[in-house]
């Protein structure tokens, strides 16, 4: 089966994205955490594609390892305080 990740390559196609307009909505609001939306418009001004990205990374998976178990409840509540 072809992997869906083939779409994401780091090499930029010089022809790609020509005449396209990019709208960035940053940040997404009224929520905890940081996200942004990028909308691509074609030459006629219609929406061609849109992406939502979460721009934040914390790392609780790693630093919780080795922590005394009694400290974990008050630590993980800071993943999201809302």
């Amino acid at each position: 089966m072809k992997n869906g990740l083939d779409r994401y390559n780091k090499k930029n196609n010089p022809e790609g994205g020509k005449g396209m307009k990019k709208i960035e909505i940053n940040p997404m609001t009224r929520l905890e955490g940081h996200g942004k939306i990028t909308i691509f418009l074609d030459e006629q001004g219609n929406v061609e594609n849109a992406f939502m990205q979460v721009v934040e990374f914390m790392g609780y998976e790693k630093f919780l390892i080795g922590m005394p178990i009694e400290e974990v409840p008050r630590t993980v509540t800071t993943i999201c305080g809302v």
Binding site: G17, T29, E61, P68, T75, T77, C80
Partner: protein, 315 residues
């Protein structure tokens, strides 16, 4: 006279500080009526970063930043906040000292990403794909992400005028701080907005406040090995409590719920090396030298909870 303008930015935090402001409840109405809130993102107002960037420099009277500086986007917006705000406040312990989220500095970015995206039991990522700062989808849609950095408290990035501790700050304390701001009764720039008392000084369990003398701890215990006796000093019972060196603007809320203080209020005035002070303050409460061994082993994990203590490890 126009109302003072307020801006609030949540950087690498959890939003708990934002909720603590909302916890002002009725007092929030009094505060909000006296303020013109021009920016509060991403949590409360529908404001975008470009709106903040478009405001004239120095046009905002008070800026609050909660959360530490963890990536290039946080760094950029925090610098914009500094330009636009006359007074900038590090709001909450993450912005002031690094907070729980500052624990990421114990590991490298590679180790953190490896655990989160590749080596967890439930992760299916055979191609070992990690977040990239730039990626082009289908050869034409270019998307960007901020660059990850070590977590830094606010004052390591920009000049900070005031600090407010707490994880999150206690709402009554926030009310007092806002009232002090509005009436212009502020301490000298660079100081903490605090009543200046330690948690022990406001703790109902403190034997000294009950007219009794303080006893030394004859044992050292973890909270999973027992439960503190109702009404007795937690530290006397041998549970490690950071009350002696922590600002008590919270009114000793954790000890009143039978939970030892973990120092989120920030260091009491005059204390810079919080971890070392905590260790020495607790060590003098022990009866026997032999207890120190057990205490120090626990200390490593327990004082780690506080980013300031990490400076001891790092420097």
């Amino acid at each position: 006279m126009s109302k003072p303008k307020l801006a609030y930015y949540l950087a690498g935090g959890c939003g708990g500080c934002d909720i603590a402001v909302v916890d002002l409840a009725e007092a929030l109405v009094d505060v909000a009526l006296q303020l013109d809130i021009v920016f509060w993102a991403p949590t409360v107002l529908d404001a975008k970063y470009k709106d903040l960037e478009a405001m004239p420099d120095g046009s905002i009277d008070v800026g609050l930043v909660s959360g530490n500086v963890r990536n290039s986007e946080h760094e950029h917006i925090v610098k914009v906040m500094r330009q636009k705000c006359k007074v900038l406040i590090a709001f909450g312990i993450c912005a002031a000292c690094g907070g729980i989220k500052g624990l990421v500095n114990l590991h490298t970015t590679e180790q953190l990403l490896d655990k989160a995206y590749i080596n967890t039991f439930s992760t299916d990522n055979p191609e070992k794909v990690l977040p990239q700062t730039t990626v082009v989808v289908d050869g034409k849609y270019e998307l960007t992400l901020p660059t990850l950095m070590d977590a830094r408290p606010l004052d390591q990035v920009v000049k900070v005028d005031y600090y407010i501790g707490g994880c999150p700050p206690y709402h009554e304390h926030i009310g007092k701080a806002f009232m002090a701001l509005l009436s212009g009764q502020l301490p000298p720039s660079g100081s903490w907005i605090t009543m200046g008392k330690a948690v022990c000084e406001v703790c109902d369990r403190n034997p000294v406040l009950q007219g009794k003398s303080k006893k030394f701890a004859t044992t050292v215990k973890r909270t999973i090995e027992g439960t503190p006796t109702e009404g007795a000093c937690i530290l006397e019972e041998g549970y490690l409590c950071l009350g002696p060196v922590t600002q008590g603007d919270c009114g000793a809320k954790c000890p009143s719920a039978n939970v030892p203080c973990r120092g989120c209020g920030g260091p009491i005035p005059g204390v810079k090396d919080f971890g070392l002070r905590a260790i020495s303050a607790i060590a003098v409460c022990l009866t026997m030298k032999s207890l120190l061994n057990r205490f120090l082993i626990q200390c490593i994990c327990f004082i780690d909870m506080h980013y300031q203590a990490l400076f001891l490890v790092k420097e």
